[in-house]
């Protein structure tokens, strides 16, 4: 069952098209990773989902309700953490957490205290004296001490130290175990790899890929290194081989997953002495999308 359902969502600011066409679905009980380069449109998508800005066209539903017209109803069951948390300088962290809790519905004191403890936050301090990470903790404590069904987190850990990052990951794991759903936008790939069931990659206002990590790995190429008695020049004619190169008798190339079988058959009679294969790292997987963009940006200049 889908908790968030977005279809052909478009958003323009004047003549600038921030979202071209976004389709995405977050199912119940799943953590959905939302990644993409800076300025790709993650935050704009999320702000549209929250009814803070209005979509130019397309459909967006949360809990089966329209995100614009039923915003208040939806927000009773949802918690949001922005990446850049701006707070009122003259209120204390504790006051802000209570305010946020009350504005959503009610305050669960024991849970709030537990979270303050876990994130080791000093709630007595005025917000103006908090560091970036501490302001973020205020928002995280408010979110995790709520009893929401859906958590929308927009780069929630960009200011946290490694220890707090771990606490954050535990918290996400716990809400996931309770069967709740999470939409997590993040630039920290290890975090995404650890937490997310499914991933959507957005670039220039379009979702260019969605799926589980496993599926995505499958789509990419394997890096292979081969040493053999005979020359491997002939490999270039084999389908599914890319970037073939020879350095000091070592042949390196990339292989498409679906052609693996053929390639191995081809190599077998050539007297292979050494064969290494590396699965694509998550980094490489994403880098491909990020890099394309930079290349395109550069060529535009």
């Amino acid at each position: 069952m889908s908790v968030v359902h977005v279809e052909q969502l478009q958003k323009s600011f004047g003549s600038f098209v921030a979202l071209k066409s976004i389709d995405l679905t977050v199912n119940k009980g799943e953590v959905f990773g939302f990644i993409g380069p800076n300025g790709a449109g993650k935050s704009v998508t999320i702000r549209t989902l929250l009814g803070i800005i209005r979509a130019s066209s397309g459909q967006a539903h949360i809990f089966g309700k329209d995100v614009w017209t039923d915003a208040v109803d939806i927000h009773r069951r949802l918690a949001y953490v922005p990446g850049d948390v701006h707070l009122w300088p003259n209120l204390t962290g504790g006051e802000v957490i209570d305010l946020f809790g009350k504005l959503r519905g009610s305050i669960d004191r024991s849970k709030k205290e537990e979270m303050i403890e876990r994130f080791s936050l000093d709630p007595k301090k005025k917000c103006r004296t908090y560091s970036k990470g501490n302001r973020q903790k205020v928002a995280l404590v408010a979110a995790f001490s709520s009893n929401a069904e859906l958590y929308i987190l927009d780069e929630p850990t960009s200011g946290l130290d490694p220890l707090m990052e771990q606490v954050f990951q535990q918290c996400v794991q716990e809400i996931k175990d309770q069967g709740k759903s999470v939409l997590l936008s993040s630039h920290i790939l290890s975090e995404v790899e650890k937490l997310c069931d499914r991933i959507g990659i957005i670039r220039e206002g379009e979702i260019i890929e969605t799926g589980t990590l496993k599926e995505m790995r499958h789509l990419t190429r394997i890096q292979m290194t081969v040493q053999a008695d005979q020359s491997l020049t002939m490999l270039k004619n084999v389908p599914g081989i890319h970037d073939l190169a020879n350095t000091d008798g070592q042949w390196t190339f990339q292989a498409d997953n679906e052609n693996l079988d053929e390639i191995i058959r081809f190599l077998a009679p050539l007297g292979v002495k050494k064969l290494e294969s590396k699965p694509p790292a998550l980094e490489d997987l994403f880098m491909r999308h990020y890099e394309n963009q930079t290349r395109m940006d550069n060529s535009n200049v």
Binding site: R47, L50, G51, I52, I53, R54, A71, V72, D73, H75, R76, L78, Y80, P82, D84, H86, L87, W88, P89, N90, L91, T92, G94, E95, V96, D98, L99, F100, K102, L103, R104, G105, P123, K124, K125, K126, R128, T129
Partner: protein, 529 residues
Amino acid sequence: MFKNTKTLSAFMFKRDRFLIPIWVIGLVFFSLIVPPTFDEMFTTEQEREAIAETMSNPAMTALVGQGDMDNYTIGAMTAHQMLLLTAVVVGLMSILLMNRHIRTDEEAGRTEMLRALPVGRLATITAAFINVSLVNVLIALLVGFGLYTLNIESMGLEGSLLYGMVLGGTGIAFAGVATVCMQFFENSGGAIGSSIAMLFAFYILRAIGDVNYELLSSLSPLGWVMQSEVFTGNHWWPVLALIITGVCFMVLGGLLSARRDLGSGLLRATPGKTEASNYLLSPFGLAIRLQRTSIFFWALGLFILALSYGSVFGDLEAFFEGNDMLQQMLVGDHAQSIAEQFLPMILMVISILATVPPMMNVHRLYIEEKKNRVEHLLSRAVSRPQILLSYVTIATLNGLILLSLSAIGMWSAISIVMDDPLSLSTLYQATMVYYPAMLLMVGLSTVVIGLTPKLKIVLWLYLLYAFIVLYLGNLLDLPDWMGYLTPFGHVPKIPIEEISVLPLLVISGLSLLLFIIGFIGYRKRDIEG
């Protein structure tokens, strides 16, 4: 310690290249525009004596200080009525400029980047002080020579220069005071607040001194301002004393600043509340909490203004007698007493001023939006109308309170100084008729915030237009329709006119319509940030 002070100072000038001219031109213009007006208004000695008599009362002395009432030339009049208040504004300018360069930059983390460069620890503070001092010297010279070129008989070269120098000296003194005050607090709000509190305290100290106990005035830099007796006695020691005060405070500020960490204050912030009190826990409670300080100070300021306007009612007849120009500013025919004719104009001024805070109350919502804090509310179970309603409610209530306070303030003063005072109910009614006009301005603010917040400057210009046209309209012989373009122009002038309900109803109805448009707009637009 002082390395790169010069570079920093130049950089600060560059950053302030728009702000400084605004202050300087504003202050110089203000100082130069008044004496010719006086010169035109009070041409005969008899007229000048009459106004001297009106001004010689404790309330006026407390407000503007002591003057040479026996020899009330145009020069003496200018020094008496204008010098102190202008000096206060110059002091305020210095405080704000100093703060902008020291605490605001520090808070925004910009100073940190500078400190990481080879820049001395005391360089920022010294550079800021030098800058502000130079601005003050510039004001002193421009005002000094400017006054002299006005060519008014009683305003000689020495007096004119002294007038300018006293202003500049006050500015330098309070630049020093600000450097000390800002060392104690962790944030620029506290720094500005404490500096302004010092300015206010010195002003009050002088007020008490001038009325009762001369010695107290000598303890206040603002007391020295008037003791220079510009255009009559021409004493130069206050200028010297002011500059020395400024430099001493600056040195003290430097010493203190070396003892504190960047971004912190000498006073530790006390820990606040762990839990929010119940009244905070709603959009309305939050909106009040965010604005309560400014609401309070505006109310206090307006009340004091109403008191001081009220206190001139004692000698009004003498004030207006035989002065055509002043009489021209009155609105009624001659059947009524001067007080009754004078009242509507004063109330119009007060009510336009009282419209500023309610408009600010609505505009505050946009400030919150710009600072990305509205999204915290909107991403929870709070609807847009609910948020806007909180701010609009505060504005309308605040307006009601401000007008009531003004009426009460005027009445309190009037009932003390007048032999045959106006009744509270007359005053209250005469003030409250402005409420619909005020609501209309609040309604326009709601429309602007609801639809296109970028246009809010237009509203302030509109209010300014209303002020100028209605205040100076009779004097400048402006056609009536110019006043009718503003809601304030349609308000019946009680007690000289009958109360007419129709315009008030129409204005109220329009306001309601504007509120509705504003709410509809706010439901539809994107929230920025």
